[in-house]
């Protein structure tokens, strides 16, 4: 067993209205960054877990996303491995 650190990125699905992103977009433009074309706000979830392999760690995190961490109606997710420590 190794200890794995994973980063789960959850973001609003394309095409879905993201009111937070819209508000931040407006704020950035009014602060003098008119070149900003779009802002979307998601969240990052940091997991620390034990698994036999990288693949198992990623598979477990993916199952967690499907069950709880992301809502498939409104959100997409990515699981990234941030490192292992034995």
């Amino acid at each position: 067993m190794s200890r794995y650190h994973l980063e789960v990125r959850v973001k609003p699905r394309p095409g879905l209205l993201d009111p937070q992103g819209k508000a931040i977009h407006g704020a950035l433009r009014s602060l003098g960054w008119p070149e900003v074309d779009d802002v979307r706000v998601g969240k990052a979830i940091y997991l620390e877990l034990d698994a036999k392999s990288e693949k198992e760690a990623v598979d477990k995190a993916t199952a967690m996303c499907r069950k709880l961490l992301a809502n498939p109606v409104t959100e997409d997710f990515e699981v990234a491995l941030a490192g292992a420590r034995t």
Binding site: L17, P19, Q20, L68, V73
Partner: protein
């Protein structure tokens, strides 16, 4: 009517629901979310408003995975009436008893005020005591009531007449100004395919008597009672 009112940590509408059920002559019982003794013997299951688990992760997400929800899903699949109000609606969507999801209001603000709703259907166990097209005054109090679903789901909901309540203006028109949160098609409440599970963001349990500003919520609970008399 024996009604189970499910209490989650962070629910705050359970007391209002309790009083609403008592007001129409029913018998309410609080059922704690960890209770595994089942929902047998109840005529209806009610999911209250509030902020279960602090709305952490997503509103209703963690409540939808609590032990009692397996019982609620079984109760619903057996055809029992299940009503989710506000946070209860969010929980029903998260548990996939209802399609779609409720995201942040397009205004980004928590919205607490009276709204007008149009009754789209009167052939459900929740709405038989209303008139079709009737315009109700019912309060809302939510920050995440913006109903979202993919186009296919929306088309199916509309095609099957599963939108039960819609936000409208005083004339009964579903305009953009009358929409308090950005919901697609001004959707305020929907039912499942069987018509026995209703989720809605507004609070009929807070509109039971003229002294609180409106009694337009009372017929919803009276409809439930009437449906039970009819089936007995």
């Amino acid at each position: 009517m024996k009604a189970a009112i499910i209490s989650f940590p962070g629910s705050n509408g359970d007391y209002d629901l309790f009083e609403a059920v008592r007001f129409i002559g029913g018998t309410p019982t609080y059922v704690w979310h960890r209770d595994r003794s089942g929902l047998k013997g109840y005529d209806a299951v009610l999911l209250p408003g509030g902020f279960s688990y602090g709305d952490y992760l997503r509103a209703g997400a963690i409540a939808s995975l609590s032990p009692i929800m397996e019982e609620v899903v079984a109760f619903a699949k057996a055809g029992g009436p299940v009503l989710g109000l506000c946070n209860g609606f969010q929980t029903l969507c998260e548990s996939q008893l209802l399609p779609g999801a409720l995201i942040r209001n397009d205004s980004l603000r928590f919205s607490s005020k009276d709204v007008r709703l149009r009754v789209e259907r009167t052939d459900t166990v929740f709405t038989s005591e209303y008139r079709k097209g009737q315009v109700l005054t019912i309060p809302i109090a939510h920050g995440e009531g913006n109903y979202e679903a993919d186009e296919g789901t929306l088309a199916r909901l509309e095609g099957e007449g599963r939108v039960v309540f819609r936000y409208v203006n005083a004339l009964g028109e579903a305009t953009e100004q009358a929409n308090p949160n950005g919901s697609w098609h001004n959707i305020a409440g929907i039912v499942n395919e069987g018509g026995n599970v209703l989720g809605m963001m507004p609070h009929p349990e807070r509109a039971m008597e003229p002294i609180v500003g409106s009694s337009d919520g009372a017929p919803l609970f009276a409809s439930l009672v009437a449906s039970l008399v009819g089936s007995a």
